[in-house]
Amino acid sequence: MIHRSTTLFHRRTAGAILAAVIFIFALAGVSFAHPLGNFTTNHFVRIRVAPELVSLRFVVDMAEIPAVRELQIIDTDGDGRPSDEELTVYANHAASAFAEGLLLEIDGKPARLQLVSSYISLPPGAGGLQTLRIECDLEVAVIPAATHRLRFEDTNHRDRAGWREMVVTPASGITVFNSSVFGNSITDELKSYPEDLLAAPVNERVAEFSFTSGNVPAGANPLMTREGRPSGQARDRLAELIAVPEITPGIALLGLLVAAALGALHALSPGHGKTVVGAYLVGTRGTARHAAFLGLTVTITHTLGVFALGLVTLFASQYIMPERLFPILGLISGALVLAIGVGLFVSRLRAATGRSSHNHTHSHDHSHAHDHTHVYDHAHEHEHSHGEHSHHTHGDHSHHHHDDSALVHSHGGREHSHLPPGVDSSSVTWRSLLALGISGGLLPCPSALVVMLSAISLHRVGYGLVLVIAFSLGLAATLTAVGLLFVYARRLLARPFGSNRLLRFLPAASALVITCVGAVICYEALVQAGVTFTLPEGLLGMFAAPAAEPGAMSTASVLSLGLFFGLKHAVEADHVAAVTAIVSEKKSWLSSTLVGGLWGVGHTISLIVAGVMVLVLKIEISEKTAQVLEMGVAVMLIALGANAISKLLRGGKIHLHAHKHGDHLHLHPHLHAPSEEPLAQTHHGLRLKARPLLVGMVHGMAGSAALMLIVLTTIQSASVGLVYITVFGIGSIGGMMAMSALVGLPVQLTAKRFARANLAVRFFAGAISLGFGLFMVYEIGFVDGLFA
């Protein structure tokens, strides 16, 4: 900081000009010191968001010198002292003037704030002078909708020095996320400024955040306090329980009940593995006993977790930041779930696809009496070998499927299960239940942590522990209840259908759900830990430094980054949706993988063309053009999805059979094996290369605008830019090949043996593409305003 001395000289002036005066504040003896000295004009804004109303508290605190000037304006009759009437007139005038300078935008549209009330006071300041404080309340109605984006800017006293503080407070039922401002004030609305901190004054002039009455989107950043903790209402309510002045048995009991209720409610908030628990228990033959064990594990883990984290916070916060631990715990929790999910999926899929002898080796010594005719030229033994006979009238053995929720029945005295092994009761291993319970309770609820910490600071460790246990029990109760709900829901589901065909795939599907949830938890934990996933942000963040300091980042590292971002870019939602739709029609795994590769080639071709246009020919891509290109992607997704679905429904590949037994009418969709259609196969062979290539090119065009922006702002030379794009393209080819191979896996696995499941998978793939396309049309057309 030595070089600062070179400019320090500026404080004083030369020649005829007097130096600016320096006010020196004695640290002691000043009763009320403004953060920046006696001449500041300080602002505070609290934005409160309720479902249908945004209200604003705007406080202006003028230090002695500006107050002197304002008081001269206030004193209209010139008697040297402001009368109440003069103050009121001034306050009304000032408040409406301030309202003009408070710019509020909701969802990009200006919203006009209405002044509700204003209040003026003259708190005593230093040197026998007065300060001036004006408080205004303003509000504006909001059209009820699930989620809003709000931007607020305070343009009053723009050139005046002073503290500028902004705070956002959600009303109950509202969640604020992705906020540029914090959830708490450090000055108590400019009534007490921090004095002993080594902290430069706050300078918040713009607030931007989203708020919703529904669910917060995945990956959103929660509203934080200035101390770096998530700001939440539940925490406050829970923390209040510990801070009561005196603990009587009645209060203690009430506290326990409230804590349990809060825990139960807390479990309903996103990210508590409800889905996992449900999916697990629904896929297994879980019983109430299992659910209870799960609950117990969650309670113990959560209590221990809170305790451990509390101790870390108290004694080791010098070395470990507790908030750093949260994402790590989240990652462990997610990894556990992921491992459980993958393990279950593999074993169940193996079971469901008949790798075990069970499915096909048990022979029926009875004949099937079909009351409908099939065209027997397709693979029938799988369809009818085992699952379906339950629909039909059988000769000599009795079925009691309709009241047999356990799917166990006997054929001529032999009892067997129709669920593959590893899915029936034997698969509810205590070990996996324990792992599941730990994953559910591992991530401590911040509010429970706050209770623990306040309990320790209030020397009420025992009570705090009991409260945390009650809270954990409530948490576990909800999770257990969800689990039980799924257990019974499955039984109810099993009864009317009686078909264990559906149920056979339920375990595998639920394992897939568990895997996905695990992946999402891991993803969120990584996002929290600071791993950036969205491309522009990540790139800009990585490149801003080299842009400022050329040469700091070598070309090689820029390019390796390009490869990484290319890989990552490939697996973005709209890309995966399109490729999924194509892959779902492919017959072999190799061709699925090829689809991904071709997509990547097409994508790269477009990017390079756009790169040449922008970097070499200096043609600008307008925002409108970019939007139109994006819209092209949306239309393409819809077309691909619709095509995939319509292909399923037409061409005789699928037909329905209706038949009756008892009171039940059954519809049998049948899918014919692809080998039946040699012509179509050739046809596909021709289109195999062109279509993914084209789709990739469309994607490339749409994505090029955003990519170019990044390349242009971060990479100076056109040649490096083009190389970067190429490397990025190679990364995207690799990424998409891996992705399409992965997507192709369930299709291929199901295609050969389970036409029906294959049908479902393909329909699902088509629907994803269609749905995502429609969503994009809505987003681009209406939210971003292409149609406006």
Binding site: M1, T6, F9, T13, A14, A16, I24, P35, I65, L197
Partner: protein
């Protein structure tokens, strides 16, 4: 959000490290001749990234209260904010940061902390302390030029011009750059070598403009200083151009705004002058600006507003006293200029002159002594104030008025003429008084 902030911080820290190296190199680079004055261009404020860096450093200190490097860097940033805004709480923060740094590591091993403390002392007008610490700094780092810059600064403010001059020549031997250039220019201006001063400021401006990233406040300061040099020589058009250039670089630069107000007044545009002063005062209410605005209101017949501004000058003075400030020169001069509370003004000037004997302290003492009827002391002091041969119309005017009071008509006439010839509109109120006095003396 947190992620974004972290990213920003990384970038900002990287930038900061870069900046530090860039400026460090400044001491080594040697000016080659006097390059032409570069054209003014707006320099975007880096306050957002700077603020992010400052927050990051503050967080670091919260985690590790012994991070003296962070303290030193913080002190530097707080001083930069102080220069940019005039907000003295930054001075307080800088002072606390510098002291905390030196508490962690003593000055002998912590020249950064000692340099920060010395700068804080200079900015707080504790020049005697600053001189001692700068001296210590020159002993610890005898080969660097910056300790001699600081030593010279402290000595200059204390009025020890010979010692200051030798400190600056030590500085010159050890390095060149923006810092040495502006110091030499400033000394030249005090010695009445206006052309040398102008060239020095131009050289400093060229050096500062060549830096990356461009130091916004330094460049604006150099341009403003060039304006001040031109104004003191009565070249109002050139002065106005420099002020406008300074404002192009740094739109809210309060010093340039106030000076622009003064030059508008000199050119006869009183409404324009008032507007610029109002803007400057909104940013930083320097009592000299407030008093000048009061004068302008008075000249345009807005007596009520004028009285309000004058009252504000007194109230700011009172606030400073209640806050324990030693520096009351501006209030003393305000009283003397407006013929109010002459005794009080004189006492204030005497008190301050005990602490530092610079030429403008001597001038304040002379001017207040005259108003308090102590003509003999006024004569002694004004000669003292002019001992360096400074070419300043205000000093000449004061000398002329004192000579008139002493009954030496010829000397009075000479100095009043010199004042008005050098800078005919040196002050909206006082210049016309000088003219009237000259007419009175002219009448037998």
């Amino acid at each position: 959000m947190a992620i974004k902030i972290n990213r920003l911080l990384f970038v900002a820290v990287a930038l900061m490290i870069f900046t530090s190296y860039g400026c460090g190199a400044l001491f080594e680079s040697r000016a080659t001749g006097s390059p032409p004055v570069p054209p003014a261009a707006a320099i975007p404020s880096d306050s957002e990234s700077t603020q992010a860096v400052v927050r990051h450093l503050e967080e670091k200190i919260k985690l590790n209260s012994e991070d003296f490097v962070a303290y030193n860097k913080l002190a530097g940033y707080y001083l930069q904010f102080l220069r940019e805004t005039g907000n003295t709480s930054y001075l307080d923060l800088a002072s606390r940061a510098a002291r905390a740094s030196l508490d962690v590591l003593p000055a002998e091993q912590n020249t950064g902390g000692l340099a920060a403390l010395t700068q804080v002392e200079i900015a707080s007008h504790r020049f005697a302390d600053a001189r001692e610490h700068a001296r210590l700094l020159t002993e610890i780092e005898p080969r660097k030029s910056y300790p001699f810059e600081l030593l010279g600064d402290a000595l200059l403010e204390l009025g020890h011009y010979e010692e200051a001059s030798s400190a600056y020549s030590q500085m010159e031997q050890r390095g060149n750059g923006v810092g040495p250039q502006i110091r030499l220019a400033r000394l030249a201006l005090m010695r009445g070598q206006t052309d040398v001063a102008r060239k020095g400021f131009e050289a400093a401006l060229a050096l500062a403009s060549a830096q990356t990233p461009a130091p916004r406040e330094t460049i604006a300061w150099c341009r403003w200083q060039l304006g001040e040099t031109a104004f003191s020589a009565g070249d109002y058009e050139t002065a106005e151009r420099h002020y406008q250039d300074a404002l192009t670089v740094f739109a809210d630069y309060y010093r340039a705004l106030a000076s622009l107000g003064r030059v508008r007044a000199a050119l006869g545009d009183l409404p324009g002058a008032i507007e610029n002063y109002q803007r400057a005062i909104n940013i930083f209410p320097d009592p000299a600006f407030v008093a000048a605005l009061g004068d302008l209101y008075s000249l345009t017949g807005r007596e009520k507003e004028s009285a309000a501004e004058y009252a504000l000058v007194e109230q700011i003075g009172r606030l400073n006293q209640s806050n324990g400030a030693l520096y009351s020169r501006q209030l003393a001069l305000f009283y003397a200029d407006h013929d109010i509370k002459p005794e009080e003004a004189y006492k204030m000037a005497v008190e301050e002159f005990k602490a530092r004997q610079d030429i403008y302290g001597a001038d304040a003492l002379a001017w207040t002594a005259l108003k308090a009827g102590r003509v003999a002391e006024a004569e002694r002091s004004i000669r003292d104030a002019l001992r360096l041969g400074t070419q300043d119309a205000k000093l000449f005017y004061h000398r002329g008025m004192i000579a008139r009071a002493a009954g030496r008509g010829q000397e009075a006439r000479d100095y009043l003429k010199r004042a008005l010839a050098l800078n005919p509109q040196f002050d909206p109120l006082q210049a016309s008084r000088a003219r009237r006095a000259l007419e009175d003396i002219g009448k037998p």
